[in-house]
């Protein structure tokens, strides 16, 4: 059996279930307790777990991320919420220089089992500083695992896996998808880190994507269907480690690949996917891989800029037709 839940409620269930199971797990961040979360992901958690385990911090991202790292090294399992990943930039020192490197530099003496989570990606007309995408930034760092998924059922199972993981895990959510609804299985379940999901089967072209761009890819696939083009849509769900097998098997079937990635193009997730496909499935490709990214610029505020900036079904369809050598 399953229920329909919004992404925010699915994520909350994951945290609540893990906190009931494991006394060492606690949640810390700005406005997570009394205000019930800036985006209401932690609604009601203060009431259930009290101030010891649901903790409002001052606006001090570097400081509380570091407190999380120290607590994790010393036997606890923190969940550190960033109001958005844009503000986590202040904490990159602790995430990249410490959480990611604790195990290596201590030669296994210390682990750092911590979850850093919050929304990533553009969310309307929020302008340059509030619209960035962070999967590739974090996934570039050995020592970190990176999850990015907006399907409520999968996001719940992945967050539970992240909380139980012995490594630091960065979880990327989405501000504008917190109300996005989906089936969430009843009862206890985990979704493994490192496995992609095929959201739609198809035979003519593979579209690889993640986070909210999967929905754009699905819309494009529906349109393409009407024109007789059958697109397979893969949701990476985990960015690092990336599920090469699922991507390669799909490309071996369809022989064509479009990567849809909200991040900027340079050295991003789309570049990584294109690399592994040319490396492992070169002989299967019937066309060069094409990627659809956000524009290679900072996002301005005006609505005309937002439309120009983001990937959308029209741009995806155009890319698909390009790899299929269809010209219309």
């Amino acid at each position: 059996m399953s229920r329909v839940l919004a992404l925010r409620d699915a994520l909350k269930e994951a945290m609540i279930e893990e906190m009931r199971l494991d006394e060492r797990v606690f949640l810390m961040g700005e406005e997570v307790a009394q205000y019930n979360g800036a985006y209401k992901v932690s609604k009601g958690m203060l009431d259930e777990f009290g101030e010891k385990r649901v903790i409002d911090t001052p606006i001090t991202e570097l400081g509380f991320a570091g407190i999380g790292v120290g607590a994790a090294m010393n036997g606890l399992r923190p969940i550190v919420e960033f109001m958005t990943w844009n503000f986590a930039i202040l904490a990159f020192d602790q995430i990249v220089n410490n959480a990611a490197k604790t195990l290596s530099q201590s030669a296994g003496e210390f682990k750092c089992p911590i979850v850093f989570r919050g929304p990533s990606g553009a969310a309307g007309q929020l302008a340059q500083q509030h619209s960035q995408t962070f999967e590739s930034w974090m996934a570039n760092t050995p020592g970190l695992k990176v999850i990015s998924c907006i399907d409520p059922g999968d996001a719940k199972g992945l967050l539970k896996s992240a909380i139980r993981d012995e490594n630091p895990v960065c979880v990327m959510e989405s501000e504008i998808m917190y109300g996005f609804q989906g089936e969430v299985p009843d009862g206890e379940y985990l979704v493994p880190i490192g496995k992609a999901a095929i959201r739609r089967e198809g035979s003519d072209v593979t579209i690889v994507s993640y986070n909210k761009m999967v929905e754009e890819a699905k819309k494009a696939a529906e349109e393409l269907e009407k024109e007789g083009i059958s697109a397979e849509v893969i949701d990476l769900r985990t960015i690092r480690p990336m599920d090469h097998a699922t991507i390669i098997a799909s490309v071996q079937k369809t022989n064509r690949l479009v990567v849809v990635d909200e991040a900027w193009p340079f050295a991003g997730v789309s570049a990584e996917v294109a690399y592994i496909v040319q490396k492992h499935a070169f002989d299967y490709l019937d066309a060069p891989v094409i990627r659809v990214n956000s524009a290679d610029v900072s996002l301005g505020y005006a609505p005309t800029f937002v439309d120009e900036y983001l990937p959308n079904p029209t741009k995806i369809i155009k890319a698909v037709k390009e790899v299929m050598y269809v010209n219309k």
Binding site: I59, F87, A302
Partner: protein, 344 residues
């Protein structure tokens, strides 16, 4: 300070007790009312979806902007956070440019690129609204560093909220500013809340001016509902800084009457608290003082109100009639070069 010379023989109150010239009071009043009406209209236009994104208004904090225009010089650079419309207007940005920016129009202060959180104007020495809490603190310090380096006697005004005062960047900046005797006026606009979090819940040190004292920086708490008090504190600070003594720290106590941003219902504070601060409304109190102490007549005050009403209407019409930027302008101003090879 100049006392008013206005003849007040028919007055019940003695206007000779006023501390500043009538001109100063009227300049404050006009600026504060302009900001108040601009922000009220901003909220209305947000409701009509002409303005979008994150939008934080300055209603309740106007007396701080007033002090800025009378106590400091136009050449003094200013940097602040995202609650910035009032400061930008006080620095001389035209309400038309500000309103058009809120609408995301090409004629806006930054051509529709910034929206509510990011106005800038080199001409007016306005170094922006910063969206990252506390980021403007070291930046303001660096702006002051440059003034000293260039040998001017300008001071850099570095404004931030009570929430921002918890970022490590403040402590690092204060230390360097004091060590290097930088001409920086740090202004913490303490409106008592950072989103839903009260000052008491984020620190054991609730008198924020004492943060300045720990670095031996002269520091004061100021009544931010009274433009006269704000002016006097800023004037003292400016004199000290311009004499080459280094930074100065003001905690200006104020209140925001609206929620943190347009989407915040502000349930974390009591009706009583809001009422208490409403009774200290800086715009209303100043207007009362002007009438009661006969600094100006009711007709003169009404003339200012009418003028401001017309200014706001003009700004909205200007914004409405201006075009959105063309999509390709998204690529402008990412690099200084016109022919930068963007990836596609």
């Amino acid at each position: 300070m100049a006392t008013t010379t206005k003849n007040s023989t028919e007055s019940k109150k003695n206007s000779s007790t006023t501390e500043f010239s009538p001109k100063t009071y009227m300049e404050w009043y006009e600026m504060m009312l302009l900001i108040r009406r601009f922000e009220e209209r901003t909220l209305m236009e947000y409701g009509r979806q002409n303005i979008r994104g994150f939008c934080h208004v300055y209603i309740g904090q106007e007396a701080i902007a007033a002090g800025l225009i009378s106590a400091l010089r136009p050449e003094d650079p200013v940097v602040t956070g995202y609650r910035q419309h009032g400061i930008a207007i006080a620095k001389g940005l035209h309400p038309n440019a500000c309103m058009a920016e809120l609408w995301g129009k090409k004629t806006g202060a930054v051509k529709g690129k910034g929206g509510s959180m990011h106005f800038f104007s080199n001409e007016h020495r306005y170094f922006g609204g910063n969206g990252i809490v506390g980021a403007q603190i070291p930046i303001g310090t660096g702006i002051g560093f440059a003034e000293k380096y260039k040998g001017t006697d300008n001071l850099a005004v570095c404004m931030f909220g009570d929430g921002a005062a918890r970022q490590g960047a403040l402590y690092e900046s204060l230390n360097m500013a004091q060590t290097w005797k930088l001409p920086v006026l740090y202004i913490c606009e303490n409106n008592h809340y950072a989103m839903g979090t009260s000052v008491e819940r984020t620190s054991s040190l609730t008198d924020i001016y004492r943060v300045g004292e720990t670095f031996d920086i002269p520091s004061e708490a100021v009544d931010g509902m009274d433009p006269g008090a704000v002016h006097n504190a800023m004037a003292r600070a400016a004199e000290y800084i311009r004499a080459g003594n280094g930074p100065y720290f003001l905690e200006i106590n104020t209140y925001r009457y609206k929620g943190h941003s347009v989407s915040d219902p502000a349930r974390y504070r009591t009706k009583e608290e809001l009422k208490e601060y409403m009774a200290k409304d800086p715009v209303k109190l100043l207007e009362k003082k002007i009438i009661e102490q006969e600094i100006a007549t009711e007709e003169q005050v009404k003339a200012i109100k009418d003028k401001i009403k017309a200014t706001i209407e003009e700004a909205v019409t200007f914004a409405q009639e201006s075009p959105y930027p063309e999509p390709h302008e998204l690529y402008d101003d990412n690099y200084v070069e016109d022919d930068y090879p963007f990836l596609t």
